[in-house]
Symmetry: C2
Subunit: 457 residues, 2 copies
């Protein structure tokens, strides 16, 4: 790395001083994301145009400097951090919505546009970009695409992968290409677009993103229900789906998470027998929501389930506040936290919850198991005191093994990044890994893009 | 190929005589698909279990015999034909629906299941597999996945790629793997599934297919409208989409196709001023269809458009018969036919149609331009007498160039296969081609799977 000063001076020549940060205070500000992983980069660059991204990609290939593309740094896995003393390429200054076409129902954006910003913009046209990670007000579309972000609406609307029409991608050396045509259909060549969704910056750097958008639903309604039998919400989700009702969201709060919310005074439970909650949102046309709501309310009444109903934007958002308070609240249960976002086949969710409760009791470590139960995606958070670190780590492993026993997957939407890479070979077969390493080599033969993450080498 | 007799005898040892066809009459029966491409294979095998597919894949790697997987042979591009005297692997005997899970809303099938058979099976459960290529009653799911098949419902429901949850894939040498987890979400490793959708048998052989299914719409209604201004249907599609109405299907019949339908007595036009037709299907809940229908009918009345309305299954299917009569009917316009299935960005459809009409007039060759205009997908058919062969070929090239000028793509759902391979480099850049060749090598380094098609080497 002795040529680094030369690299840096060429970088500054190309981009200008104000787009290249090298001061320790700045490097530290870009040395972490929302995980425990830390890595101080050698420099941070802030390109403003795609031509500048291309120039950076040329230079890193010439000097063999690793590069980590970064949106807002809300990744929970260390995928937005430089682990090999490389360059951080921040998309903060490439944050423009370039084009909305109502006839095509597509929107073209730069990677640094915030998800929430895009949502607000589209709303004015009666349109909607459904993926809604909890971070949507401050995470970028580029980062959402790189991680394959999900969110509560995944149940009815799918995740980021279902909305990316095409990507413009830059490779080390400065080569740039589109992953597919800008038409709504197309089967010429191989479909490269989905390969990049969830690739966590390891296959290429996005320079432009074309998203599909859909009409906003006419109306929505949210039910928050209280359950004396912890697994009842999971049964309800299955019953509704079998009855051909597809809620927009179905968010589960388990017993331990409920304890945290209660301790953190986010919710006051008058009935001490309540063991879990279900947030169930229905959306669609006024009539279809009315009809579905009737069926859900009949089911709740039949089962003797108590619930709150919110049917104005304001009331709905205020109930959702409780759900959003979960992640900060679980902290009250322990100073240390290990979090995963596993996915089970729906039919195995109940069995998984039972196993979790058993392991929790055996180990004396809090295990929160909340989240997007509608699509089988549980956020499993272990909370413990620092002296229980080793036991917690072994508990985590036991839980991940349980996920795989029950035919689940180790990450639904957060990705692998740095912190979960050692578990990847538990899930993927040697053949799958070999093929994925082969794919990585096609796009990044010198392993310059976000090395040390995603796939174990 | 001198070891071919040894290969054949080992194949028969493994599969048994009744699963290996080598008689000339059988080879000829498997030497063509629905394109003009012809290639007589050395043998045709009919495995009945995935283990037998794996055995065949081992053997072809050992003897370096090329293999072409084949569903029902309805491909329109020569992708189901052996162009290099290899083996045809027919999935005719692997045609079982293995599992339906109502809670997961997934169905697991063998590749040889017919699309229409699956549709009928799901109907009993109130469920629905939307992709509907014209061949759906006799084409297989394996073939639909391999080509990335679309159909009229693509406008609202997307195409095959939107319904494949995961694939079990075999590679030369007999290695077998799943392209992703069997959960509804997942971001561990790279997303391999979509890479195989539309890969036309060049990357791997499917041994099991997991599809997502959706609830059947409550009701549907079909409008067939008659237009004096040929491009009016294209304007209507854009107006509806801008008004946030998403029809299930919007099928366009242009002036020349209408002439063919009329000559073939599929439709009787009392009003000689009619220049084009639009089939517009709305589906959803009873109320939403009613509401959308009202808007569409108001628009038609305002514009003075005459239309038929079908609102029972029987009437709807009988109107769709006219649409289905298109492909056989265009033959009345000329003994020879060249067909393409191009896609334009919606905003450029009108411009494209104008260019087509101009070229048609200049060259004196019939150009039908009908199809899934809702998602920009036109089936362009040239009809001519054999002495006009050379002029037709040059007209075809001019049309394909026009598609690319207007930012379109050369195939929306039929694929490239053998017959369109020489045009691929017109659309894809050298970099895109290089990357795709790299991907092919990852999965099939010896180029044994459906060689000579899809990507020009």
């Amino acid at each position: 790395m002795k040529s680094f000063s030369k690299f840096l001076s060429r970088l500054k020549d190309i981009l200008g001083e104000n787009k290249v940060f090298t001061q320790p205070k700045d490097l530290i500000a870009y040395s972490f994301d929302s995980s425990a992983a830390i890595g101080v980069p050698l420099a941070v660059v802030f390109p403003e145009r795609k031509e500048e991204v291309v120039d950076v990609l040329k230079l890193i290939a010439e000097y063999k400097i690793p590069l980590v593309p970064r949106g807002a740094g809300t990744a929970t896995t260390g995928s937005a951090v430089s682990h090999t003393q490389g360059l951080i390429l921040s998309f903060e200054r490439m944050n423009r919505i370039l084009e909305l076409n109502l006839e095509e129902r597509i929107v073209v954006v730069q990677p640094g546009v915030l998800n929430g910003e895009l949502k607000n913009y589209l709303k004015k046209f009666g349109l909607f970009y459904p993926p809604d990670p909890a971070s949507y007000n401050y995470s970028t579309i580029g980062g959402n695409v790189a991680t394959g972000a999900g969110g509560p609406r995944g149940l009815k609307y799918g995740t980021t992968k279902d909305y990316v029409l095409a990507l413009e991608v830059g490779l080390p050396g400065g080569k740039i290409f589109w992953t597919g045509p800008l038409t709504l259909k197309g089967v010429v060549g191989y479909n490269l677009t989905p390969l990049f969704v969830g690739s966590e910056g390891t296959l290429g750097v996005f320079t432009e993103i074309v998203l599909k958008v859909v009409p906003l639903p006419e109306t929505r309604v949210l039910l928050l229900s209280y359950h004396e039998k912890e697994e009842e919400p999971l049964e309800i989700i299955s019953e509704l789906l079998k009855a051909l009702i597809t809620p927009a969201s179905a968010e589960f709060i388990d017993k331990t998470t409920l304890l945290a919310l209660s301790k953190n005074k986010q919710i006051e439970l008058h009935d001490k027998k309540v063991k879990s909650l279900l947030f169930l949102e229905l959306d669609g046309t006024v009539e279809s929501v009315k009809k579905e709501l009737k069926k859900v309310e009949e089911l709740y009444q039949m089962k003797g389930i108590f619930y709150h109903k919110a049917d104005t934007e304001e009331k709905i958002e205020s109930l959702w506040e409780i759900r959003r308070a979960v992640s900060p609240s679980v902290r009250v249960l322990g100073e240390r936290k290990i979090s995963d976002d596993v996915v089970l086949p729906r039919r195995n969710m109940k069995e998984f919850l039972k196993k979790i409760r058993k392991l929790e009791e055996e180990k004396g470590i809090y295990v929160c198991c909340f989240g997007h139960a509608g699509d089988g995606n549980f956020h499993v958070n272990l909370l413990f005191s620092s002296e229980k670190e080793e036991e917690a780590k072994s508990l985590r492993k036991a839980i991940l093994k349980e996920v795989l026993n029950l035919k689940g997957t180790l990450s639904g939407e957060h990705g692998i990044g740095y912190v979960k890479r050692s578990f990847v070979a538990w899930e993927l077969t040697p053949l799958q890994l070999e093929l994925m390493r082969g794919l990585k080599k096609v796009f990044d033969p010198e392993n310059l893009l976000n090395p040390e993450i995603k796939i174990p080498f």
